[in-house]
Amino acid sequence: MRALVIARRELYAYLRSPLGSAIIAAALLVDGILFYFASLDTKRLSAQLLTQFFYDSSAATMVAGLLLSMRLLAEERQAGTITLLNTAPIRDRDIVIGKFVSSFGMLTLMNLLTAYMPLMVYVRGKVSVGHILVGYLGMILLGAAVTAIGLFASSLARSQVVAVIVGAALVASMILLWVVARAVDPPFNTFFSGLALHHENYRPFMVGTLQFDRVAYYLMVTYFFLLSATKVLEARRWR
């Protein structure tokens, strides 16, 4: 499958350039510092500490997801290497999937590298394995959605800076839908809160509750933005 050939090349690029390592290292550092300060509060129950960890880590995941995905297509267009992909016998869908898999893979690796913190809570406190697994599932799903949004933004821009700004604006808008939900009357408040990227949809994962409609939400957001990025690539050929 050609998508995997592209994914492999992208992973290679992440590992060879200092950018990927720097982003992951910075995100892990922030995660570690936040966890340290959260753990200083001795009045907290271990489950609450774990919930706080997943809340803090979601922010690092979103920022890292945007930064890792900003280069995916914008850099190719800027360097002119997109022509290699555009003139190879591969579908635009495969280009997008390959790019997504590499960036999402790096982000997931970053998420898994934080595992020592919940494991410490598990060893020293009273939390269930399910809570940890569900929390990570939520973080990974959130990371997938943000990576897809970043990839879509990258498909629109030639500059990585513009790509990350567009991506951040989209993510911020989707997060702030919960504020809109508070300001409007029923049934629109339910509608908007259901669309919010973080608030209503992520909280169940933080507390260790697995809700399949929330899983479906993140999968749909991911699919929607990957499809949008594919359509942008297809449309460019007709321009």
Partner: protein, 351 residues
């Protein structure tokens, strides 16, 4: 191999090419010649399925580029004017990647990469990072990626752009080496390059094929004969006066059609440059007539015919103001570069 019928490509409201119709046979090496903005790159991008046409039909090896783009791409190798290279990969890694992208079976990738490295003579740099290579080697790697999958059609957009004279000669040999195994379409604004490497020339102007044929056929079609470049000593007189004297001297030579005064070909005073349009090779008669008239000849040479033809084609339909602008631009560029202008139209001007 290639059939293009009534092809149009618009960028928004602007027509880049069209109507454009032509056919290119299997194994031909065809040169696409035209000024910047004429539509060369857009045409090549459509052939390579990088862009899709607005309307019209383009078939490569019998396959329509809109209906079966993936199959067409598998049969085409494309080198854009800016080679699509990843600086962070070694040559070998990059070519292996390009081969895998283009459906080369995994067990044959190593052999194919080795073959194209040998053909393009880049074996010595196979383990070097592409970012550390010279421009000439980067162009070679660009060609290697275009042929790594053994395509039936190779499309090269300005392959000698930015190369030094030695690299140009090497690249010319490389393109010639593709003859036979592939159908090749090369674009360039370096006129001599097209005549050196191609079997047939397509002159493209305003997005349309203005002329098509071999260099000889073009010459015959235009019936414009040839041009003689003259550099004369003015001996204290003005360039116009010398030109006038030369015109009188050449009036007795029946083949002379027009005598044109150019910017001086050499720095300093006392030199006049003329361009003489003739319908047959009368260089000897021209020389004798000028000497008999007492005009000192510093240089008498035959202009590159292709350049003359190209200029003539471009000037067809162009008003005299346009021609003057072109000549003035040419003179300005020469003054800036301080390069000795052997002909009224150099490659630099046409770029």
């Amino acid at each position: 191999m290639i059939e293009i019928q009534e092809l149009y490509k618009y960028y928004g409201d602007r027509r880049a090419i069209g109507p454009l119709s032509t056919q290119i046979g299997q194994g031909e090496v065809v040169g696409l010649l035209g000024l910047n903005g004429a539509g060369k790159t857009t045409t090549l991008r459509v052939l390579a399925c990088d862009l899709l046409p607005t309307s019209g039909s383009v078939r490569v090896a019998g396959l329509d580029v809109v209906e079966r783009p993936d199959e067409v791409r598998a049969k085409v190798g494309y080198l854009p004017d800016r080679p699509p290279l990843y600086d962070d990969m070694t040559v070998h890694e990059y070519l292996s990647y390009a081969a895998r992208l283009r459906n080369v079976p995994v067990n044959k990738v190593k052999q194919r990469v080795s073959d194209v490295q040998e053909l393009t003579e880049i074996g010595d740099v196979t383990n070097q990072l592409i970012g550390s290579l010279s421009h000439g080697f980067k162009q070679r790697v660009g060609i290697a990626q275009a042929i790594v999958h053994g395509p039936e059609l190779v499309v090269l957009d300005e392959p000698i752009s930015g190369l030094d004279p030695v690299q140009i000669m090497e690249m010319r040999e490389l393109v010639r080496g593709l003859r036979g195994a592939h159908t090749v379409v090369v674009s360039s604004h370096i006129l001599t390059e097209i005549s050196e490497t191609c079997d047939r020339i397509l002159v493209i102007k305003d997005g349309r094929i203005a002329w098509s044929g071999t260099e000889t056929e073009l010459s015959a079609t235009l019936k414009q004969g040839m041009h003689i470049a003259l550099t004369l000593r003015t001996a204290g007189a003005s360039a116009e006066a010398t030109a006038s004297k030369a015109r009188s001297a050449l009036s007795g030579v029946s083949s002379v059609r027009e005598v044109e005064v150019l910017e001086p070909a050499e720095a300093g005073e006392g030199v006049a440059s003329l361009r003489v349009a003739v319908s047959s090779d009368v260089r000897e008669e021209v020389g004798k007539s000028l000497i008999q008239a007492g005009i000192g000849i510093l240089e008498l040479s035959r202009e590159k015919e292709l350049e003359s033809m190209f200029l003539e084609l471009l000037e067809e339909g162009e008003d005299s103001a346009g021609r003057k602008r072109r000549k003035k631009k040419h003179a300005d560029e020469l003054a800036k570069s301080e390069a000795p202008p052997a002909t009224p139209a150099t490659d630099k001007e046409l770029s």
